[in-house]
Each structure stands twice: as C-alpha cells, then as structure tokens.
Amino acid sequence: MIFSFELAIFGSTISVLIIMFLLLYFYAQDYRKYLLEGKQEVIQERSQENAILSNMKRELSFAAFFMDDSKSIGIRYIITSLLFFFIAGLAGVGMRISLWNPNPTFLTPIQYNVLLTEHGTLMLYGWATGSILGLGYYLLPSMLKIKSDKLGHLNSAMFWFYFVGGVLLIFSRSTASWYFYYPLTDQLTEAGGGSYSFAALAGVLLILTAANVASIIFLKMIFFDRDKSIRLSKLPLFAWSIVSTALLILSSAPVSMVADVMLIYDLINPVFFTGSNGTALGYAILFWFWGHPIVYVAVIPAFGLIYELLPKYANTKVYSYKSGVIGLLLLMVLSGTVWGHHLFNSGLGTFWDLIFSTTSFLVAIPSAITVFNWIATLWTGKIRLTVPMLFILNAIIDFVIGGVTGVMQADVGINELIHGTYWVTAHFHFILLGMTTGMAFAAIYALFPTLSGGRRYNVALAKAHFYLTALGTYVMTVPWALGGFQGMPRRVAGYFGIFQSYQDAAAIGGIILGIGQLIFLINLVYSSTKPISVSNENILESEVIYGE
C-alpha cells in the first residue's frame, strides 16, 4: 500500500495514545513501588520543595510547567485552559459573525462544522474541565492544610495527557460535533471536510484519563491527606463540591471512554455501532451517560466557589452548611440519572422518556436548595460589590434562568418542540457562560494578589470585563431562546430569513463577549506593570466560618 496521509495521521495518533498509556503505567508502577517497598524517602527527596505545600505561594508563571507540586500543576492547568478558552471563544465569535446573513457570510458549511466541533469540545473538555482541575489543584492544598504532596510526577504526567489531548482536538479539525455520533465520526476521509475524528477521540480519551486520575488524587487529598485539624464536618464546601465532582467523573466518564475506544475500533473493523445491527443508538446512550454528567462537572465546582467567596464579600457566614453539603451531594447522585433527557426524540420509548423527565425535574430540588442557601446568605450579610461579587451575583441569576429553561425542556412534550433548536443552546450558554466561565474569572480575580505575586488588578478594567461578559451573555442567549422557541435550528451554517433579527442580535452579543475577554488580557498586562502593593495571601486559604 502506498503512503497515505490518513494512515500516517491515524498511525501517529495511535502511537501517541500508546506512549501516553505506557507513561501512565510507568508512573503507576513507580507509585506502587513507593506503596509496597516504602521508598518514601526517595520520593520525599524528589518533592522536597513541596514540604510545606499549603504555605507555598505560586504565581502565574511559565516556570510552573517545570515544577511538580500541586500548586504549580494548578497554574499549568489554569494557563492552558485559558488558552483553550480563547481558541474556542474565537471560534464561537467567528460562527456568530458568519451567521449575520441567512446565507453564510464567510464560512462554508464545512468550516462552520469544524468551528462548531472545536468550540464545543475545547470549551467543555479544555476550558470547563481544565479550569476546574486547575482550581482544584491550586486551592485544595491550602484549604486542607496539606503538608506535602507525593504524587507530583503523576499529576505532571496527567497534565501532559490533558495538554496533548487538547492539541489533538485542535489538530483533528473534526466536523462530528462534540457528540461524535456514529457513523459520522468514522469517516476516514476528507470528503466530509477533514473529519479526522479519531484524533479528536484520542484527545478526549487523554483528557478524560487525566480527569479520572485527578479525581482520584482529589479524593485522596480530601479524605486521606488533609490536616487532622480539619474534621469532616468542617470540610470547606469547595472541597465537598470537588468530592461530588470527582465521584461524578469516576462513575460516568469511563463509560464514555469505553464508547470512544469502540468507535476507534469500529474505524478499523466496524462491529459495535454499525447501523445494520441497530446499535447506532447504543453509542448515543453510552455517550450521554457521560454527556449529561459533564455539564454538572462544569457547574458543581462553581457552586463550591460561590459558597467560599460569597460569605467573604457579604461579610457573613454561609447560611446553612449542612444543606449546602446535602445539595452538592444530591446534585451528584441525581445528575447521574437524567442522561436520557437528551434522547427524548431518539426512540427510547415513552416509558423511559417519562422516567428521565421525572428525574430531570427532581434535579431542580438540590439546585433550588443551593440557590436558596445563597440567597439566605446574601440576605443576612452586607454586600460589597467587588468584581468577584459581581460575577457571583450574575452567576446566580444566569443559573436560575438556565435551570428554569432546563426544567422546561425536560418536559417530554415541550422537548418535542425545542429539541434541536437554539433554545437548547441558549439553555446551556446561560449556565456555561454565566456560571462556569463567570466563576472561573471570579476565582481568578479573587486570587489575583496571589496569582500575580502581590499586585492589584485595575478595577475599572475588571468591571468593564464583567459588564461586557454579562451583557454579551444576555444579548447573545436571550435572542437564541426566543428564536429557538419558534424553531430556529441550531448547528447550521445558514438559516431561514425569518430568523435574521434573532441571529443578528445574537451576533452583536457574541462580539460584545469577545471584546470583554480582550479587556481581561489588557488588564492582565496592565496590572503586571504596577508595583507590588498588597499582601499575596490567598484569600481562599483563611478559615471559613459556617453557620449552624
């Protein structure tokens, strides 16, 4: 057989995967040795600098890429996930602008599909997952007063899994959307426009491996490594949110990883999901078993951050610690049971549709517990409208809107109407922009003195960033919701003229959002030129006082 480009890419993707897993095996063996043979000293030596992890200050710096302590790993994830956020964000703004006219203005359908896929995958796997892992690595050691960190090399390897996974996603230029449904995904051809989806699948596999290992490490930190002075009943709520997230990842991501491997195998020898044995739906089920939990993975840590930050800016304590914990854990349990609401129109049958509809309604309960807890906290406190607080208040409002639209579309009848329209896109952008992205930025601003080594951000620029992000979210998603309810289809490069006013309004929103993020960068550069002026204490480190 002569040289074929497809084969070369396929081969190298598979080799990257194999090398990565060998690496993982090597590190796991290393750790096993340490467990079995008590080679504690050796490893201690290796991570001597980590000795007083919780007091360590780590700034945003590229040196973090060469250091293996948890905080440096956190910095690595934060920097890299920001990169993926900007890549995916530009793709999103590009799609929006191209939709200015009913006939695509500058994107061909194939280019549109590439941007759609890259936007969805990089936002969810690169930005949402990455920023959460980063904040987890960065904050947990301080919150739990962890003295030393013995798995630095494993964390480091996992970071590179995540990084290479993101790069594979970018280079795949897949057009299969973030679902990677069969048979679209298994077209080893450029006829559909660079559908090297298996590279994207390999990327997803690597990122999910990193997320799984990180989850285990987080659980280990929280339950085994934390300082004895922190009792379980006094565990910070952010740590509880990470417990919830980690368990959610561990219980559902492997299902999707298995499905991804089956897809890659099907490429060579189609046996699993071929339409002829009727299991194309099988892939969809395996995918959504993880596809729903990942959206909760993207919000639950944001809930935890709100619980940590809200009392600080409202000068009070969390209204009810217990109901906070219960809410976070219930969210984990319930959101594992609702995945079928993405398949109402795929023929699971009325019986299952109704079951999934009911469980979806039930998710509103822990969500409401959480939101009311925040409102009660706000009620009893004195609110200081700092920049992180603005992000928090906006996140709560956006989550309520997103949640209500979610519960609406979980009604089987209404879902018939809005499935596949921009209503769904509006539903999740409210939450993913307002809550996930908003809280990541809130945390970055709150930690700014620590991250920048004692500098202040420019408040005017930060407020401009906030207002443009918040305004842009509404201007983009409200027209989506309105148009979507009238049947404006999502995932199309062009559309019927009657929807133009909605699409144009949303395009303006997209541009506002883009400008807002640029202001964040300007602020970063601007503040770095200012002299060191504040203490670089980590404000999330100090002990939190909870009510009850």
């Binding site: 057989m1 002569i2 497809e6 700034e59 945003l60 710096s61 590229f62 920097i79 920001l82 990169l83 900007f86 890549i87 964000g89 530009l90 793709a91 590009g94 994107l107 061909t108 194939i110 280019q111 590439v114 941007l115 890259e118 970018i170 230029r173 048979p183 298994d186 077209q187 080893l188 051809t189 450029e190 006829a191 559909g192 426009g193 660079g194 189609p270 071929t274 339409g275 002829s276 044995n277 991250l451 920048s452 080594g453 500098r455 960068l521 300007i522 970063l524 550069v525 503040s527 770095s528 030129t529």
Partner: protein
C-alpha cells in the same frame, strides 16, 4: 507574575486563538457539486456496489468500464456493501484528480444503504469514477460519447451481486442482492 510573563501570556493566548482559527478555516473543503449537470432527454440506470476491494467486487467485472452517452441522465444507484466509508467521485480525465472532481458524494458506512447519484454529461470524453477513501482499489473509467455514436452500456445485468452468505442481517434495507 512578572511583566514579561503577563505580556507573553497575553500574546500566547491571542496568537494561539488566531493561529488556531486560521488552521480551522484552512480545512480541506472536500468537493461538493462543483459542476453543473447537463440537460437530458432520457435516463439510464447504473448500479454500483461500493466495496473497499473494488466497485462491484463480487461481480465478474469489478471496476467496470462504463460507456454512456452525453445528455443522458445517468442514475447511479450506489449500494453500500461492506460497512466502510466510501465516496462516489467523478472527475474528467483518465486518472484520479480530487481537485477537478465534478461529483463527490459520501456513501454512509451502513451495509445496504442506497445512495442515488444523478448526473448528465454535456461533454464527451473519458472520466474517472473512484472512491476517495479507497483510491487504490475502487477506480474505474467512464467513457462518454456524443449521442450520435453507438455504444453499449454495461450494467446492471452483468453484475453478480452480493454474496448473501457474507451478510448476516439479510437485506432488511430493501437492497436487492442478486446472486
């Protein structure tokens, strides 16, 4: 965070986004219907089984040379045979050339799927029909003569269809498998 860190971080984020955007847009465009089908006054059926080992691989004439006339609507009935992705791609000339293709249609990798590709040629000449995914094996010639010439067209009778013994699911898709 030194000034250099902040500036290089901002530059990396902006350049990363810009370069990736450029890379995304430079995706191969595939090939759609670039040509225009000519007018026609009669139609002719051509059956092709898409099989990675060759078009109509199970017949006595794999990769048949197809003769047809100008201004006849050729109705290619392309039947997926092996669960692998294929395309029916046609370009002028007697060798494969993706850039000058006038027709290129994906055949979904689900056995039994039938894809109809209709095309009428205005210019006589030699054309190549092939599959982009399997250019080594699935390639044949399509010779178009102007209407005055007398030519015979192959197919569909000469095709020995799919061997049912290979097919575990029967022909539930309504495809006809002649043996």
């Amino acid at each position: 965070m030194s000034r250099i860190t902040a500036i290089s971080l901002a530059l990396i984020l902006i350049l990363g986004a810009g370069l990736s955007f450029y890379f995304f847009l430079s995706v191969p465009q595939g090939i759609g219907a670039q040509g225009v089908s000519a007018s026609y006054n009669s139609t002719e059926l051509i059956v092709l089984y898409a099989n990675a080992q060759g078009w109509n691989y199970n017949s006595s004439h794999p990769n048949p040379t197809i003769y047809a006339k100008t201004h006849v609507l050729l109705e290619f009935k392309v039947i997926e045979q092996d669960n692998l992705p294929h395309t029916l791609t046609i370009n002028p000339g007697n060798s494969e050339n993706q850039n000058s293709a006038i027709v290129s249609v994906n055949i979904p990798p689900i056995t039994g799927t039938v894809v109809w590709v209709n095309w009428s040629f205005g210019q006589p000449g030699t054309y190549t029909y092939w599959c982009i995914v399997h250019p080594e094996t699935m390639v044949g010639l399509l010779i178009i003569n102007s209407s005055t010439n007398q030519t015979a067209s192959v197919v569909p009778n000469s095709i020995q269809g799919y061997q049912l013994s290979n097919l575990s699911i029967g022909n539930i898709y309504g495809a006809k498998f002649e043996t």
